[in-house]
C-alpha cells in the first residue's frame, strides 16, 4: 500500500524541470539527486515531499531526455507512485526500473486536489482519493517483480544469481 499526499502538476512536465541537465554528470548520489527534484518548476518540492507521496500529473509526464535521474531523484525524494494522463515512454520505463509505480489515469487527474491524501493499492489495482475508488489494470508479474525487488538492477541481479 502507498499512502501519502498528492503533488499535482500540469501537462508536459519535462526531464529538465524534474532534474536539470547541468547536474546529470556531476551528481551521482541519489540522496543528493533528491535535493534537486523538480528544481526548475518548484524549488521547494524536495522539502515538501515525504516518503509515500504521490505525483499526479497531466499528459506526457517525463518528456524529454532519457536521463534516468529524473525517476531516481523522485524516488529518493519519497515519491512511490506517479499517476498521469499519459507518460513519455522512456520515463515510464525509467519509473518502473526505479521501483516507482506508474499509472495512467485521466479520471484521477481531473478529480484530485493538490496536497490532499491519496492511497494506492498496487496489488489490487485500486486508487482511493476524496472518498472515491478508481481501478487501474493489474500489473504483469514481471513488472510487479521489478517493483517488489526495488528496481530493475536488483531484480536482474536476483535473476542472474539463480
Amino acid at each position: 500500500m502507498i499512502k501519502g499526499k498528492i503533488h499535482k502538476f500540469g501537462d508536459d512536465i519535462n526531464t529538465d524541470v524534474i532534474f536539470p541537465g547541468k547536474y546529470t554528470y556531476s551528481i551521482s548520489d541519489p540522496k543528493e539527486m533528491a535535493k534537486h527534484a523538480m528544481e526548475n518548476l518548484d524549488p521547494e518540492f524536495a522539502e515538501k515531499a515525504v516518503k509515500g507521496d504521490v505525483i499526479v500529473a497531466g499528459k506526457n509526464f517525463g518528456c524529454g531526455s532519457s536521463r534516468e535521474q529524473a525517476a531516481t531523484c523522485l524516488k529518493y525524494a519519497g515519491i512511490e507512485a506517479i499517476i498521469a494522463c499519459s507518460f513519455s515512454r522512456i520515463f515510464f520505463r525509467n519509473a518502473i526500473n526505479n521501483a516507482i509505480l506508474a499509472i495512467v489515469s485521466k479520471e484521477v487527474y481531473d478529480f484530485c486536489v493538490d496536497g490532499e491524501p491519496i492511497i494506492v493499492y498496487p496489488e489490487r489495482g485500486v486508487i482511493q482519493v476524496r472518498g472515491k475508488e478508481y481501478n487501474f489494470p493489474k500489473l504483469s508479474p514481471d513488472i510487479m517483480g521489478i517493483l517488489k525487488d526495488g528496481g530493475l538492477i536488483e531484480h536482474t541481479k536476483k535473476k542472474l544469481s539463480k
Partner: protein, 418 residues
C-alpha cells in the same frame, strides 16, 4: 495484412515471422550506445554481479556531452570510462573530440538499415534516417543489456507521416519537423513508431532526414524511421556500409494513423519557449532580440547546416553584443568545413568556433545563459532552464535562421540574405 518497417525490423530481431502492435517481445540489439553517462552505467553494471559485458563488440561509446571535461568530476568520469573500455576490450570507443554520438555512430558505419539499436540517449531515434530501428532507454536498462544481451520492447503502433510539396528556398528539414511538431503536439506520437515518407522526404539529403528522425523524439515517438533508398545507400557506401538487408514497409501495412502535410508554402518556423511544440511562423518572432546564437548539436551540426549558415554569414559580421557559437557535429564535419573554407568565413564573421560535441545544449558548459538572456538555437529542446538560468529563454530554429539572426541581433527571416 502487411507489416510496417518498424514491425519488420523488430520481428526479424526477435526471430519471429510477424509481430503485432502491443505485443511484448525480447530482442537482442545489434548496437548498444552510451556516452558520458557510461560512467553511471558502469556503476549499475557492477551492482549486477557480472564480470564481463556479454557482447563487447556491440557497444559503441562516444564521449560527447561534456568534452573536454569542464570540471574534475567530469574528468574522473571520463577516466573511469576509459579504464572500463580497456578492461572490457571495447573496440568502438570514441574519445573527446570525435564528435556527437548521433553523428559519429553513422559516420563509423554502425547505423545499418534493418538493424536494431538502443542507446542511453533519447535522440537515439536519429538512426531511423538510415532505416534502422533505434530508440532511447535509461541507464539501468543499458547496464542490464550489457549483462544479458537482451531487452524487452513493446511493439509500437505505427503512424505514417507523408510530407508533400516542394520546400521554398530558405526552408529546411528543421522547419518541416518544427511545423509538424507544432501541429500534432509534444505528445502527438506518444509511444508510436513514426514512419516519414513522401516527396519531400524522398528529395531530402541524409543530413536533412537525420533532423526528422532526431526530432521524432520531440513528438513523443519511440522511433522515427525512413525507408532506405538510393540516397541512403550512397551515403552508407561512402561510410563503409554496403552489406545490408534493405527492409521496406509493405504496401498493405497497417498504420494507426496516416498524417499528410502539404508544405509547398512553408516559411521558416520558430519554437518559442519553453516547449518544442510552441511553434509559430517566423513573422511572429521577427525582431525578438537575441544574446546568443547556437549553431550545432545532434540536430543541426552537420556539414550542410554549416554550409547554409556560412553562405549567409559570408562577408558579414555577427552583431555587436551577440555571441554566436559553432559546434561542428563531428571531427569529420569540422575537417570538411575547414577544407571547404567555411571556417574562414565563420572566423571572419566573429563566430566563436568550438570543439565537436554537445556544447551548451544541455546546460553543462561552453555557453550557459544568464537570467534574462535569450538564445536562438538549432538544437532540439527549449525547456525552461535547459541551457542555464530558469529565467533565460531558448528559441529553436534552422541553421539559416540562426545565421541571419546572428547578423542582425534579432530573430530574422534568412530570405533577406539569400
Amino acid at each position: 495484412m502487411g507489416a510496417t518497417l518498424t514491425e519488420k525490423i523488430i520481428a526479424k530481431n526477435a526471430g519471429k515471422k510477424k509481430v503485432s502492435p502491443g505485443e511484448i517481445v525480447t530482442v537482442s540489439p545489434d548496437r548498444i550506445l552510451s556516452h558520458d553517462n557510461t560512467a553511471a552505467i558502469i556503476k549499475h553494471f557492477r551492482k549486477l554481479g557480472v564480470e564481463k559485458v556479454i557482447a563487447p563488440e556491440k557497444l559503441v561509446i562516444v564521449l560527447d556531452h561534456v568534452v573536454p571535461a569542464a570540471t574534475e568530476t567530469y574528468a574522473v568520469n571520463h577516466k573511469e570510462i576509459r579504464r572500463f573500455v580497456d578492461e572490457q576490450e571495447i573496440r568502438n570507443f570514441f574519445d573527446a573530440g570525435c564528435g556527437i554520438c548521433h553523428q559519429v555512430l553513422p559516420e563509423e558505419g554502425f547505423a545499418v538499415p534493418g538493424t536494431l539499436i538502443v542507446g542511453a540517449d533519447s535522440h537515439t531515434t536519429t538512426y531511423g534516417a538510415f532505416g534502422a530501428f533505434s530508440t532511447g532507454v535509461g541507464r539501468s536498462e543499458i547496464a542490464v543489456t550489457w549483462a544479458t544481451d537482451e531487452i524487452w520492447l513493446r511493439v509500437p503502433e505505427s503512424y505514417k507521416i507523408v510530407i508533400n510539396g516542394e520546400l521554398p528556398p530558405g526552408v529546411t528539414s528543421k522547419d518541416v519537423i518544427l511545423k509538424i511538431i507544432g501541429e500534432i503536439g509534444a505528445d502527438g506520437a506518444l509511444y508510436k513508431a513514426v514512419e516519414f515518407a513522401g516527396p519531400v522526404v524522398d528529395r531530402m539529403t541524409i543530413a536533412g532526414r537525420m533532423v526528422l528522425s532526431n526530432m521524432a523524439m520531440e513528438m513523443g515517438a519511440k522511433n522515427g524511421i525512413i525507408a532506405p533508398d538510393e540516397t541512403a545507400a550512397k551515403w552508407l557506401f561512402k561510410h563503409g556500409v554496403s552489406n545490408f538487408e534493405a527492409l521496406c514497409p509493405d504496401d498493405d501495412a497497417s498504420y494507426e494513423k496516416v498524417l499528410e502535410f502539404n508544405l509547398g508554402d512553408l516559411v521558416p518556423q520558430i519554437a518559442f519557449p519553453h516547449t518544442v511544440d510552441n511553434v509559430k511562423p517566423i513573422d511572429e518572432a521577427e525582431g525578438i532580440k537575441v544574446d546568443q546564437v547556437l549553431l550545432g548539436t545532434c540536430t543541426n551540426g552537420r556539414f550542410e547546416d554549416l554550409y547554409l549558415a556560412a553562405q549567409i554569414l559570408k562577408g558579414k559580421k555577427v552583431a555587436p553584443g551577440v555571441r554566436m557559437l559553432l559546434f561542428p557535429a563531428s571531427r569529420n564535419v569540422y575537417s570538411q568545413a575547414l577544407k571547404n573554407g567555411l571556417m574562414e568565413i565563420f572566423a571572419d564573421a566573429g563566430v566563436i568556433i568550438m570543439n565537436p560535441g554537445c556544447g551548451p545544449c544541455l546546460g553543462a558548459h561552453e555557453g550557459i545563459l544568464a537570467p534574462g538572456e535569450v538564445c536562438l538555437s538549432t538544437a532540439n529542446r527549449n525547456f525552461k532552464g535547459r541551457m542555464g538560468s530558469t529565467d533565460s529563454e531558448i528559441y529553436l530554429a534552422s541553421p539559416a535562421v540562426a545565421a541571419a539572426s546572428a547578423i542582425t541581433g534579432k530573430i530574422t527571416d534568412p530570405i533577406i540574405f539569400m
